[in-house]
Amino acid sequence: MNLIEFLRLAWESITKNKMRSLLTMLGIIIGVASVIIMISISAGTEASIEEQITGLGSNLVYVTTNFIRAGARMGPITISGGGEEGGLVFDDATAIAEEINGVSAVVVEQSSSETVKAGAVVLDGVTILGSTPGFPSVRDMEIKDGRYFNQRELDHTQKVAVLGFDLAQELFGEGDPIGQTVTAGDTKLTVIGVFNERGMVSGVDFDAQLYTPITVVFQKFTPSMFARFMGNRVRVIYVKIEDLDEMENIIQQISFLLAKRHEVSLEEADFSVTTQQDIIQTQESTTAAFRNLLAWVAGVSLIVGGIGIMNIMMVSVTERTREIGIRQSIGATPSDIRWQFLTEALLLSLVGGLIGVLVGIAGSWIFGEISEMRTVVVSTSIVLAFCSAALVGIFFGFYPANKAAQLDPIEALRHE
């Protein structure tokens, strides 16, 4: 018999006993589907991490308050300006911008939620994001019409606003917003620019926000409870560096400057300076660990699937002992019998693999829909899962096939 004849025979046998075939394939289906689903979750997570990182812009240094050390140094909180000492304050950002060379932008953010009106349109709960002029560069935001505010407007607490793409549409429709007035809370702001579409980054819709100088937020808007507690303290100062090679040097300068301003030694600093590189590295090692774990789970489930095939093939060999005897009596050699069962195992795992691929793709999609986690079906994972299914089938089909080939014709024929 040639391979095509063996495959045809195997196909006939599989389709003749659909329930048994399905049971045999179940392990492989689950194995392959879970490989594809898990890899798609892992790839989706990686993609959204990458997006977050690029969403923050490149060449970034983060200066953050070290709350554990800062807490000890914080004085009594006052409504007007927070404690006397400890933690990062807005002036720290100004100092970095003024005193350190090679810094292209320093951004501080403070937000508030307000009702925004323009003409007859009223929108509740719009995020007012106060920041500094470097914001578009640091956040990779592009101006579509008009311009962003400048340092002078920031320093003088000018009541100007730049609108996110969707917000501009909702407030002004097809009309030109530039030069118009919007009312945020009780404050009238003049629209000076509109951003291009940016989409969701880290769960924040950048197109739905209103952007204004941070000094305006400090002065005019009701800060959140947390912001009220913070006073003019800031949680993060984003510093964009001009030249990546200067990164180490600039980090050191920032550390010295802030330590001097806060009158602490570097060892006891109430702030920390991290680079995007550090964050990428932690993220990467986390996802690598995650991926390794997935590889183990996938491998185990495929082996379990293979053992399932072996089990049911063994049962099948016993059930079909008489058929084997009949085939031997009309001239099937041991190798004919072996090949018959091997091709059957192979075909079962290939068909099971194929069904597993479909279930996996559908499962990834459904999982993405219901969990709000991102899933990306990776084509190499399909190939990988499919090939492993075939290998598993051959490997675990071998033992039952050999068992069948070694049956004695007379005993097999006598089997009921």
Binding site: M1, E323, I326, R327, S329, G331
Partner: protein, 249 residues
């Protein structure tokens, strides 16, 4: 016409089990059967008829002694070689038909062609040959039927077609009519006689003296030995008169 020996066994023994509890199923059987003969094997239950047939059919091998089939010693062959002999030289017909379940008559008859390594044919050819043989056994209109949709007599005729499809020199039948009514049994016997008339060598186990009497020779087994060999007449279609005149010689 030169007489050609097809089957020759020399002191064939078959012993089941070792040591204390063992059964001597065949205890030194030496027989010789010529090409074109129709031979019946008779004997009480447990006398070793099936054991002998299995050895003649190369499904089993003797514990001792030699079996020469068409001039070739098959007692020392390995499993794969024996499979080849079964495939091309022997057609075996069982009492219980032994058709592949849930498989059409046509596919059942095609099966031995699949395992034929000497003469490989494509699927169309295989189908053609199988269909032809099925027509020859009178089942041209039942080719797509599965075994469970056929009567016992029809199933046995499918089995005979399967036995014939590789054009074997020897047809072995172990109680081929044992499982069917006399009408179907008659049809199957007619078919076997026709095959013999066409020159096919047939060895058949039967309990029916009437049926045995219509063959050329009857080998009687008792306790694994050949008790006697009776010549029934000159041909498979020999009449009772011929049989009497033959014995009076």
């Amino acid at each position: 016409m030169a007489v050609q020996v097809l089957i020759q066994t020399e002191d064939v023994k078959k012993i089941y089990g070792m040591g204390e509890v063992h059964v001597i199923a065949l205890d030194g059987v030496s027989i010789s059967i010529q090409k074109g003969e129709f031979v019946a094997v008779m004997g009480p239950s447990g006398s070793g008829k099936s054991t002998l047939m299995n050895i003649l059919g190369c499904l089993d091998q003797p514990t001792e002694g030699r079996y020469i089939l068409d001039g070739v010693d098959v007692s020392e062959m390995d499993r794969a070689q024996l499979a080849g002999i079964r495939n091309r030289m022997i057609g075996f017909v069982f009492q219980s038909y032994n058709l592949l379940p849930r498989t059409s008559a046509l596919k059942n008859v095609m099966a031995p062609l699949l395992y034929n390594r000497e003469q490989k044919r494509n699927t169309n050819m295989q189908q053609e040959i199988a269909a032809e043989v099925l027509k020859a056994v009178g089942l041209g209109d039942r080719m797509a039927h599965q075994p469970q949709e056929l009567s016992g007599g029809q199933q046995q005729r499918v089995a005979i077609a399967r036995a014939l499809v590789n054009d074997p020199v020897l047809v072995l039948a172990d109680e081929p009519t044992g499982n069917m009514d006399s009408q179907s049994g008659e049809e199957v016997m007619q078919l076997l006689h026709k095959l013999n008339q066409d020159g096919r060598t047939i060895v058949m186990v039967t309990h029916d003296h009437e049926i045995a009497a219509h063959t050329q020779r009857t080998i009687h087994l008792v306790d694994g030995r050949v008790e006697k060999v009776i010549h029934n007449g000159s041909g498979s279609n020999s009449s009772a008169f011929e049989k009497v005149s033959h014995e009076s010689h």
